[in-house]
Each structure stands twice: as C-alpha cells, then as structure tokens.
Assembly symmetry: C2
Homo-oligomer: 121 residues x 2
DNA sequence: CCGAATCCTGTGGGATACTG
DNA sequence: CAGTATCCCACAGGATTCGG
C-alpha cells in the first residue's frame, strides 16, 4: 500500500472544473431531463423539473450552453420558440451521470438508514 | 421519439439526495484522495487537498461518515490519532466518480475552449 | 493532532415583476 | 413564450480562536 500523499492539482483540477458547473443545484437534473426527451422547449424543461425557478433554469441552461453540453436553437417567430437538446459532448457525459443516478437509486435507502442511525449516536 | 415530459420525482429523487451531499465543494475530492491512499489521517487529507479549511474538512468528513461512505477510527491516545478510510459503500461509489473524473480530464480542454469562444459572442 | 465554537462574508438561488 | 431585471435572504464556507 502506497502511503505517499498525492497532492491534488489545486489550480487546474479538471474534476473541480467540471464539478463546479455540473455540481450545482440544477445542471445534472436538466441534463437528465434533456437526455430523456431528445428535444425540449424552455417551458417543457421548466414543467418537467417542476420546482426550478425561471431564473435558475435560464442561468443553468446558459452555463450548459457555454460549456458546449447543450445546444440552443431559436426560431425567430412570435411567440418565440426555443429548443434545447444535448450536444455530442453532452451525450458523452450522460452515461456517467446515469451511472451515478443508478448508484443513487440503489443505495439511497442504505444512505438514509445510515444517516438516521448516525443521528442517535 | 417520445415527447411526453417525464416529471422528476421532486420530493424523493435519489439523484438530488446523493448530489446534495456529494455535489458540495469538497466531498468528491475527499473521496478521491481516500481512494488513492487506503487509509489517511486528518492532516494527511488536509495536506493532500491543500486549500481546504479545517472546518470544511471536518464537516465534510462528518457528513461522509454519516452517510456511511467513510469510516472513522479514533485511537485514544495523546496526541490524538484518527484514521479515515472508505467503507464498502464508499468504494462502490468510486468507480463512477473516477469515470466522471476521467471524462473531465478528457474533455476539460474542449469545455474551456467552448467557454472562451462563447464569451466572444 | 484533531477537531469544536464563533464570527463574518459572498453568493447561490428564490420571488416577483416586467418585456419583445 | 422565453426570457431579463431587481430585490433579498439563507446558508455555504473561510479565518480565527480555543480545548482535550
């Protein structure tokens, strides 16, 4: 067993970079919803998630678009119509997200039980 | 292509539950450091991460312990000695974390480039 | 050495109202 | 419909100090 401490590359750590974007309150959820539906309009995502504010949905989508994970297509008409879908980059991330979601589903009960029994000590 | 909007189970979504814990600023990083080293003492983790405050390391470790992802072993001696290591549950999560980290490593350059070119528009 | 306790600040993010 | 703009606050998290 190696016992030398590996220093995490503080400044340029990719995990931090990605997690700072994806680890916020809504991004992963948005990605998963988009993954389930191929193409969605703004309000469809809004309703799908339910308890996200317009502001945060807007901000989150913009971030995801900036990172190139989500594509935004505007139809110049009135009333406006905007469609969102995953880019190839976004799609390449989603298996890992789903894996995480799968693990969460399998182990949530255990975790909740752990938390409960931890309380009593 | 199905266009029916799937509502996320707002209240009991496992992904949210797990992400609220794991998606904070430090937890994943701590898990990865522990994964690289089998057993670590408090200060070893502290130094390995570098820019984490004592408080947040303490809090994060406690949360991870409460969820049953990390095991904490205290040696009752002076000066104190405390060892941390992953539980089996924690170990079962780590492949997915590593997968995410791997994806991050592979695609960070692309993402950074996307962000940069997004600025100019 | 391993934290707990306290204090303090920045900001993530909600509510609401307005616009093209 | 698809957002922006504004206001506002809770809380994550840093700095510092104290204790066993």
């Amino acid at each position: 067993m190696k016992k030398e401490v590996i220093f995490t590359d503080i400044l340029n750590c990719p995990v931090r970079n990605v997690l700072d974007r994806i680890g916020d309150k809504w991004s992963l959820l948005i990605l998963m919803v988009l993954n389930q539906n191929e193409v969605l309009r703004f309000n469809e995502i809004h309703q799908a998630i339910g308890d996200i504010s317009q502001k945060m949905l807007s901000v989150s989508l913009k971030n995801l678009e900036a990172d190139g994970l989500v594509n935004r297509k505007v139809y110049p008409q009135i009333p406006p119509k905007v469609e969102y879908k995953l880019t190839d980059l976004g799609k390449s991330l989603l298996p890992h997200v789903d894996a995480l979601a799968g693990w969460s589903n399998q182990n949530m009960q255990t975790i909740l039980a752990n938390r409960a029994s931890y309380q009593k000590s």
